[in-house]
C-alpha cells in the first residue's frame, strides 16, 4: 500500500524575507536555523582567530586579558549554544520529516517560536559586546562562585546568562517538535526500526535535549538570581552543586553535538558505498545505550574536585567504548562488499570517522581519574574536544552539506572547490589541534592569555595559530563553493546519488508538503535501495 501525500493548497504564503522568517514549513525553519547557525559559526571562528593571534607567541599582549577572557568565553559559547547544537537541530528539522515520509512537522508554530527564542538568545548573548564591561567572560560553563555578582559584576555577564537560557529554551522547543513528529507523523509502513540511521541519531539527540536542557535553563535561572543577591550557590557545597547541574546538561549536549553528524556521515557512507547501513538494529541499540550512558557520565568533568564518586563516573565514561566501537564496526561493515564512490561528501565522512577517533580515544584517557588529574583543564582537554567537535562533528556536518545540498537547492556543489575545502580543513585542523596534546601534557593550562617562553611552547603555539589560519581559508573556500554553485547552477535532479531514503523520492527542493508523488513502499530503512534492487532483479529475471 502506498500513501498519497495530501496535494492540497500550500500554507498561507507571505512573500519575501518576512515570509521566510515566519514560515511554519519545517524545511524553512530548518534552513533559517542552519543559515543563522552558520553565521554564528563564522563569528565564533573570528573569536578563535583573535585568540590564536594573542597566544601565537609567548609574552605578547595583542588583546588585553579582559578581552581574551571574553574571546574564549564567547568562542565556546557561540560554537556550542549557537552553532554545533542548533545546526544539529537544523538538520533534524529539515530532514527528519522527509526521511519518515511526513508531510509536515508536528507543532510547527512551537518550532517557529523556538527558533525565534533561540535567535533572541544568540543576539542577547552577542550584544554583551556592546556593554561597558563587555561580553560574558567566565568561560562557556561559567563556574560559581566566579560567575556570581561579586566576582563578575556587569550587564555583559547577565546578558550571557539570559542568552544561554533563551537559546536553551528555544532549542528545547524545537527538539520537542522533532520528537513529536517522529512519534506521530511517520508514514504508514515506517516502523521505528525502519527509520533511517540519520533519523535515529536525531531522535536520540532530541530526547537528550528534552531531558537535559531544562536543567541548564534551571541552572541559568538560579545563576541569574544568585547574581542579583539571591545567594543560591554560596552555601555549603554550592560550587559543586552548580557543577552537577551544569554538567548534567553539559555532557549530554556533547552527544547532541555528535549523534546527528554521526548519522549524516553514516548516511553518506552507506549511499556512497551503494550498500545499506550495516547492522542497523545493533546500531540503534548502541546509540540508545550511548545516550543512556551519556546521561550518566557528567561528573567526569569533576574528577579533580573531590566532590564526586570518581569510580562510578570512570566506569560509565569508559563503558562508552562499547557503543562507540559498534559505530565504527558498522561503518566498516557498510563499506566492505560495497561499491565505493569517493565523492567529496564521502571523503568528508571518512575524515569524520578518522579524526573523531582521535577525539574518542583521547576521551578514554580523560575517563581515567588518575590520567585526568594531570590533563584536566590543560590543553590536552582542548585538543580532545576539538577533535570530537571540530575535527569530528564539523566534518560530519560538511559531509552532510555536500550530500544534501542538491536536495535543498536543486544544484550540485562543485567537487573541485570541495576537495580544496577538504584538504585545507584537514591540514588546518590537525595542525591546530594535534600540538595541543603535547602542550597540555607539558603543563600548559587552558584559558591563559599569556605564557612564559618554555622550551617548545612558542613553536607549537605558532604552528597552531598557522593551522587556525588554514582552517579559516578552508571555511572561506567552502563559502566560495556555495556562492559559485548557486550562481552558476549545475542542476542535480531529484536523486543524484542513488539515495536510500525517502527524501530522495521527492523533488529538489521538496515542495511545500514534501511529497507530491505517492511514497514508495516502505519495507526497510532503505526503501529506495529496495526499489532499485527489485528493478535490478526484474531486469535480471527477464533480460
Amino acid at each position: 500500500m502506498t500513501t498519497a501525500a495530501p496535494a492540497v493548497h500550500g500554507p498561507t504564503r507571505i512573500p519575501g524575507v518576512l515570509g521566510a522568517l515566519t514560515s511554519t514549513d519545517h524545511k524553512r525553519i530548518g534552513l533559517n536555523l542552519g543559515l543563522l547557525s552558520l553565521v554564528f559559526f563564522l563569528v565564533g571562528g573570528l573569536f578563535a582567530l583573535l585568540m590564536r593571534a594573542q597566544i601565537a607567541q609567548p609574552d605578547v599582549q595583542f588583546v588585553s586579558d579582559q578581552t581574551y577572557s571574553q574571546l574564549f568565553t564567547m568562542h565556546g559559547s557561540t560554537m556550542i549554544y549557537l552553532f554545533v547544537t542548533p545546526m544539529a537541530l537544523a538538520m533534524a528539522l529539515y530532514l527528519v520529516p522527509l526521511q519518515i515520509g511526513a508531510v509536515s512537522l508536528a507543532g510547527p508554530r512551537l518550532a517557529l517560536i523556538g527558533f525565534w527564542i533561540w535567535l533572541s538568545g544568540g543576539l542577547v548573548m552577542q550584544s554583551g559586546w556592546l556593554t561597558g564591561d563587555g561580553a560574558g567572560r567566565d568561560g562557556w560553563f561559567a563556574y560559581e562562585p566566579l560567575a556570581n555578582g561579586t566576582n563578575t559584576p556587569g550587564v555583559g555577564q547577565d546578558m550571557w546568562v539570559i542568552g544561554v537560557m533563551l537559546a536553551a529554551l528555544g532549542m528545547t522547543a524545537m527538539a520537542a517538535c522533532v520528537a513529536a513528529t517522529i512519534a506521530r507523523r511517520r508514514a504508514p509502513g515506517m516502523a521505528l526500526l525502519r527509520m533511517p540511521v540519520f533519523t535515529w541519531t536525531a531522535l536520540v539527540s532530541v530526547l537528550m535535549v528534552v531531558a537535559s536542557f531544562p536543567v541548564l535553563i534551571l541552572a541559568m535561572s538560579l545563576m541569574y538570581i544568585d547574581r542579583h543577591g539571591g545567594h543560591i550557590f554560596s552555601g555549603f557545597n554550592g560550587a559543586i552543586d552548580y557543577q552537577d547541574l551544569f554538567w548534567f546538561f553539559g555532557h549530554p549536549v556533547v552527544y547532541v553535538m555528535f549523534f546527528p553528524y554521526l548519522g549524516a556521515a553514516a548516511e553518506v557512507v552507506a549511499v556512497c558505498s551503494h550498500k545499506r547501513w550495516f547492522g542497523h538494529t545493533a546500531f540503534v541499540a548502541s546509540i540508545m545505550a550511548f545516550a543512556a550512558l551519556s546521561m550518566s557520565v557528567w561528573a567526569h568533568h569533576m574528577f579533580t574536585t573531590g566532590g564526586v564518586t570518581n569510580q562510578y563516573f570512570a566506569f560509565t565514561s569508559t563503558a562508552l567504548v562499547v557503543p562507540a566501537g559498534i559505530e565504527y564496526f558498522d561503518m566498516v561493515g557498510t563499506m566492505v562488499g560495497g561499491s565505493i564512490v569517493l565523492r567529496t561528501s564521502m571523503l568528508f565522512a571518512l575524515m569524520f570517522f578518522i579524526q573523531f577517533l582521535i577525539g574518542g580515544l583521547s576521551g578514554i584517557f580523560l575517563a581515567s581519574p588518575v590520567l585526568d588529574y594531570h590533563v584536566e583543564d590543560s590543553y590536552v582537554v582542548i585538543a580532545h574536544f576539538h577533535y570530537t567537535l571540530f575535527a569530528g562533528s564539523v566534518f560530519g556536518f560538511f559531509a552532510g552539506v555536500y550530500h544534501w545540498f542538491p536536495k535543498v537547492t536543486g544544484a550540485h556543489l562543485r567537487d573541485s572547490w570541495g576537495r580544496i575545502h577538504l584538504v585545507l580543513l584537514a591540514v588546518g585542523t590537525n595542525l591546530t589541534f594535534f600540538p595541543m596534546f603535547f602542550l597540555g601534557q607539558d603543563g600548559m593550562p587552558r584559558r591563559i592569555s599569556r605564557y612564559p617562553a618554555h622550551p617548545g611552547w612558542g613553536t607549537l603555539n605558532l604552528l597552531e595559530s598557522i593551522g587556525a589560519g588554514i582552517i579559516a581559508l578552508g571555511v572561506l573556500s567552502f563559502l566560495v563553493n556555495v556562492v559559485v554553485s548557486l550562481r552558476r547552477r549545475q542542476p542535480a535532479g531529484d536523486d543524484p546519488w542513488q539515495g536510500h531514503t525517502l527524501e530522495w523520492a521527492t523533488s529538489s527542493p521538496p515542495p511545500a508538503y514534501n511529497f507530491e508523488l505517492p511514497l514508495p513502499p516502505i519495507r526497510s530503512y532503505a526503501p529506495l535501495l529496495d526499489r532499485r534492487h527489485e528493478q535490478l532483479d526484474r531486469a535480471g529475471a527477464s533480460p
Partner: protein, 225 residues
C-alpha cells in the same frame, strides 16, 4: 641532590608521576593500535571496493552474532582498563592519604596568589601577582597539602607530578605528594579564576631534607639552592 635514592627507599611512597606514567604507557599503545586498525580497515575497504559497478554491491547488511561477540570483546577491554585505572586511583587517592607525612603545607588560593603556610614552622610563602616566593619542600618525603580557597575555585597543579587538585570554596581537600628528585617544579592555577588567572603561578623548590631543615630553622629566609 645526589642522596635522593638513599633517603627515599623506592616504592615505599606513592609517586603520582610514576602512577600516571605507568597507566599512560599502557593506554597509549592500545589507543595507537586501535587507531591504526581502524585507519587500515577504512583504507582496505576503500582500495578493495571502490572500482566496482553499483550493481555488484553486496546486499547483506547484518550480523548480530558477530556484533554481539565484538561488543563482548570491547567490554573486556573496558574491564581491563578500569582494573588498571581503579588500582592506580586506589594508590593515588587512598594509599597516599594514609601515609604519614613528613611535612604539612596549607595551600590557600586567592585571586590571584598562592599562600603556602607551614604550620610546623610558622612560615608563610606567597606567589602569584604578589611575588615569587618558592614553595620549598624536602625531596623523597610524603608531603601533605591541605588546599582551600578564600574566593573562587582555583586548581593546584604541578604538571611534573602529573597531579592537580581543585580548591573548592567551603571545603579543604588534601593531597599527598612526593617529589622524587631535587630541583624546580613549575606550578600553576589550572581553573580559570578571573582577570589575572595567567599570573597565578608558583615554583616548587625541592631540596634534600638537611637543606630543608636548615631553611625551616632560618624561618624560611633565603632560598636554598
Amino acid at each position: 641532590m645526589v642522596q635522593v635514592g638513599l633517603l627515599a627507599p623506592p616504592g615505599a611512597l606513592v609517586d603520582t608521576r610514576h602512577e600516571y606514567d605507568h597507566l599512560f604507557s599502557i593506554y597509549v599503545p592500545i589507543a595507537v593500535a586501535v587507531f591504526a586498525l581502524v585507519v587500515l580497515a577504512i583504507g582496505f575497504a576503500v582500495l578493495r571496493y571502490s572500482r566496482r559497478a553499483p550493481s555488484q554491491a553486496a546486499r547483506w547488511h547484518e550480523h548480530n552474532r558477530l556484533e554481539g561477540g565484538y561488543a563482548l570483546a570491547l567490554a573486556l577491554v573496558v574491564v581491563f582498563l578500569l582494573y588498571l585505572t581503579f588500582s592506580a586511583e586506589h594508590r593515588v587517592d587512598t594509599v597516599a592519604a594514609h601515609e604519614r607525612p613528613a611535612l604539612t603545607v596549607d595551600v590557600t588560593g586567592a585571586k590571584w596568589e598562592w599562600q603556602f603556610y607551614y604550620p610546623a614552622y610558622g612560615i608563610t610563602a606567597r606567589s602569584g601577582t604578589v611575588g615569587r616566593q618558592p614553595l620549598v619542600v624536602p625531596v623523597g618525603e610524603a608531603i601533605r597539602f591541605n588546599v582551600s580557597t578564600i574566593d573562587v575555585i582555583h586548581a593546584f597543579w604541578i604538571p611534573q607530578l602529573r597531579y592537580k587538585r581543585d580548591l573548592i570554596p567551603g571545603t579543604t581537600e588534601s593531597a599527598t605528594l612526593l617529589f622524587d628528585r631535587a630541583g624546580s617544579f613549575p606550578g600553576q592555577c589550572a581553573e580559570f579564576c578571573g582577570l589575572r588567572h595567567a599570573d597565578m603561578v608558583f615554583t616548587v623548590r625541592a631540596v634534600n631534607p638537611a637543606q630543608f631543615a636548615a631553611w625551616a630553622r632560618a624561618g624560611g629566609k633565603g632560598v636554598p639552592s
